[in-house]
């Protein structure tokens, strides 16, 4: 079988108590990941984004991450954490280009939110904006850590649609952590569960 360009594979990846993990995330695939809090899901995502020193191998297409500059790797294999953080005063300063107006509309965010001060945003607004901030790098693999954790039902649906649309448009793949089994059924093509640092089919 030919390995498509945006396919992420791990070979015996282990970090702290997590692993060794061998998975293949094919291009266009969205794997749903569940498991109790503290089982190592977020650590696993951090290791994939090369933010933690780990044993084993992670590769995109046929290139292992060590052969790509770490910042470049993280732009391609983008981790979007559950809690978004902001360090400049206004929303716009966190973006390299003007925010895509269609995407703002899709997430029911005001078009002038760019000028708004970050400390005036709600947690839900921040979470939606953080997603757009990450998508700006045009990642080919999305590592989503509870991307709708602080959102109501309508906004959850909007975010799900936006992500699914993005994956399709860009032939990108995703690893989606959620504590909502219904959500994972809706969005993912395959379900995995993590227990004691090991991945098993759910």
């Amino acid at each position: 079988m030919t390995v498509l360009a945006n396919t992420l594979t791990t070979k015996n990846l282990s970090v702290f108590h997590v692993g060794p993990i061998n998975i293949t995330l094919h291009e266009g695939e969205c794997i749903g990941l569940s498991g109790p809090s503290g089982c190592g899901k977020s650590i696993f995502l951090k290791a994939l984004a090369d933010l933690l020193e780990s044993k084993g191998e992670v590769s995109l297409h046929d290139q292992t991450n060590t052969r790509i500059d770490a910042p470049e790797w993280r732009k391609k294999v983008q981790l979007i954490p559950a809690e978004s953080l902001w360090w400049f005063n206004t929303v716009g300063e966190h973006f390299k280009k003007p925010i895509n107006k269609t995407q703002l509309q899709l997430l029911s965010l005001n078009a002038d939110i760019e000028q708004q001060a970050v400390n005036q945003l709600s947690t839900g607004q921040k979470q939606r904006l953080a997603l757009l901030r990450s998508l700006e790098c045009k990642p080919t693999v999305l590592l989503l850590d509870e991307p709708t954790a602080s959102l109501d039902k309508d906004n959850t649906q909007r975010v799900e649609q936006l992500i699914q649309h993005y994956l399709k448009e860009n032939n990108a793949s995703a690893l989606w952590i959620s504590h909502d089994p219904e959500q994972l059924k809706r969005v993912s093509t395959k379900l995995l569960a993590m227990t004691n640092g090991q991945l098993e089919p759910a």
Binding site: E53, R74, P81, L85, W87
Partner: protein, 266 residues
């Protein structure tokens, strides 16, 4: 010019002010008296000690002794930097990097000032070299201590922000930029303020000492300006060098934040 020398009685009388302050601290439970008295005692002993050492150095000019004395000053300054850190780097890195930064800035500038500007008959003449080095070391030490403390404690506090910036593909330099800038500022502000307020708000200590000891004011002023420029440049270069080494140490070659390299307990 007639010089008024101070007697031991003069100093004892002045020390009563420190005792009064200590008594207030005890009565008001401010918890300051112990460190106040120890610091006053340390200052007296250390200064007399350096006084005797200088007297001896002035009498018997020997480059070897000069090297030993300045080496001890440097090592003591390095130790002092570490003891002022809330979260020092683990292992010997903190000590080595700050000592190296102080060596690079203070020693080079002292030697430069002696050979190019002041040019005493014997360039390393201890009457010039030791006080100059002491001034530079003291100020560079303060700058480095403040900025390294700021660097490590801010990094600790803002670890999640740094990680999130890394996630977005920023390099370690970009992700640490704001913290490093703030640390540089914190280390430099005392010297910059010192220059800005010199003469208006405060008469600098060295100039005051020189005038009290009988020098003409304009001569004292010239020396003071020289010293201000030297200590600002010295602490600036020292702070810059130590922050450069320190911020490199906080990350590895894969631009991963390595918090285990700073001590976890404040």
């Amino acid at each position: 010019m007639n010089l008024i020398t101070l007697t031991s009685w003069d100093l004892l009388t002045t020390s009563s002010l420190i005792f009064i302050l200590a008594i207030i601290s005890i009565k008001q439970r401010l918890g300051l008296h112990k460190s106040l008295l120890i610091a006053a005692l340390r200052a007296s002993i250390q200064l007399f000690l350096i006084g005797f050492i200088l007297r001896w150095l002035f009498g018997d000019i020997n480059p070897l002794w000069l090297i030993i004395v300045s080496g001890i000053m440097l090592l003591a300054a390095g130790r002092e930097v570490i003891s002022r850190q809330q979260r020092p780097f683990t292992g010997s890195f903190g000590y080595l990097s700050s000592t190296l930064s102080m060596f690079l800035s203070s020693f080079v500038l002292t030697i430069g000032a002696l050979t190019v500007i002041i040019q005493p008959e014997l360039w390393y003449s201890p009457q010039y070299s030791i006080p100059l080095l002491g001034m530079l070391l003291g100020n560079t030490m303060n700058g480095i201590a403040i900025s390294m403390d700021r660097l490590t404690s801010s990094t600790w506090q803002q670890q999640q922000v740094i990680e999130q910036r890394l996630m977005l593909g920023e390099t370690s330099t970009e992700a640490l930029y704001d913290i490093k800038k703030e640390a540089m500022r914190a280390g430099m502000i005392p010297s910059i303020n010192g220059m800005a307020s010199a003469g208006i708000v405060a008469l600098p200590g060295m100039m005051t000492g020189q005038i009290l000891a009988g020098s003409p004011p304009i001569d004292a002023v010239k020396y003071q300006i020289l010293i201000l420029f030297l200590i600002t440049a010295g602490s600036g270069f020292g702070v810059y060098a130590s922050l450069h080494m320190g911020s490199k140490r906080l990350f590895d070659s894969r631009h991963r934040l390595r918090l285990e390299r700073i001590s976890a307990k404040p």
